[in-house]
Subunit: 231 residues, 2 copies
């Protein structure tokens, strides 16, 4: 049986992460400039190679850290891509992960010392290989997940307003919602705790700030994870 292993061709395994961010207004995508191409400027997802001692998600997290300094990002596996010619240099199977972060929480870390840069989802540059396909798939998955559970909280500051949350969902789905129905639906989840503070400066009236009820949120999130992944 061991010969069966030795007879096999090995190949490179890459990890590519699609990092979405929200800046309060628009949905953004984090990309790094790619050095390979000379004439055409091409951008790439957060990508790198699997090391012998790493699990897949662990590797994606390490690569993300090396490229951006970001840590403690919840990465979710999206899909694996393995068309024989997808990387013209050498046969590579890519496992794609995606994540959601709040742009403002991480902006300094990223722009300081790294080559990574945020792009509006509406103005994406040319992407390497099949990365565009990965992004399209991730946005679909993001939309699906957003209908299933309130993942949007990850993308906002700790204290946020209902109108901010609505803007986020409108950015994810590229549509608009009725604010009365939206707030009713969100509040009916009982995941939000209303504070006495109001957000000032943006509107004249000011909107009430909310925080996530973390006890309840963790419960829901865990049952969602149990549904999706195994055990």
């Amino acid at each position: 049986m061991l010969e069966q292993y030795q007879a096999q061709v090995k190949c490179l395994v890459a990890l590519d992460s699609i990092i979405f961010g929200f800046d309060g207004d628009e949905l953004k995508l984090l990309l790094v400039k790619r050095g390979i191409e000379e004439n055409d400027v091409t951008w790439s997802l957060m990508g790198g190679w699997l090391r012998p001692d790493e699990g897949l998600e662990e590797s994606a997290a390490r690569i993300l850290f090396q490229l951006t300094g970001l840590t403690n990002i919840y990465l979710e596996q999206l899909y694996s891509f393995g068309a024989p010619q997808r990387d013209p240099v050498e046969r590579t199977v890519a496992v794609a992960y995606f994540a959601l972060i709040n742009v403002n929480d991480y902006q300094e870390k990223i722009s300081d010392s790294y080559e990574a840069q945020w792009f509006s989802m509406h103005e994406l540059p040319n992407l390497l290989f099949d990365h565009r396909q990965m992004v399209d798939m991730a946005i679909r998955q993001l939309r699906y997940k957003a209908t299933q559970h309130p993942i949007g909280f990850e993308l906002l500051p700790e204290k946020f307003t209902i109108p901010q949350l609505q803007k986020l969902y409108e950015a994810i789905f590229a549509t608009t919602f009725d604010k009365r129905n939206f707030s009713r639906k969100i509040l009916s989840t009982n995941l939000l705790i209303k504070l006495d503070e109001k957000q000032k400066g943006f509107s004249k009236k000011g909107a009430y700030l909310y925080i996530v009820d973390n006890t309840r949120y963790q419960q829901q999130f865990n049952s969602f994870l149990n549904f999706i992944s195994s055990n």
Copy 2:
């Protein structure tokens, strides 16, 4: 940049397929006997190695054919598994696919000349490596998909009855449904065409046979595929 490729460690890539079948009564899983272990009898999913010139799904289909003779099975990618020690012999990343077939349509092909065998989902043997985890995840995915679109048609003969379809969904979800609500819901999709024939032999009264309205079904299925995969 090329050195970056050469510096990387390559690893084996395996494809494992979880094949579900329905025999009219129970949900089953297709497994092959695994030669490695001597004392303990261990069974394995339909697994094999990626070849240099193959895409992932293509490879999974080729492996399935070699182990069972099955062709033209719609395989859907499930998840990739890459824990460093998941295969104790050598580091392997496994991409898992799953599929649904009608046991009766394929039974002869399989049992004749191959080592593959159907197991009731309630009586699964010990499985190789992390295959049990893959199966658990696949059943969750199957349930999810079954709520989203009527994937169950794949598992039934061309002509089938509403009670048969109900049994199938009850097997997938390991529960029971109210037959009035079930038939109303299924018929409201307008995907079924009622025939003048009745199924004889099983019940005394006999149940009306239906076929899938393929035009409508393809439409729905395609929009579902577009949602899940890319482009």
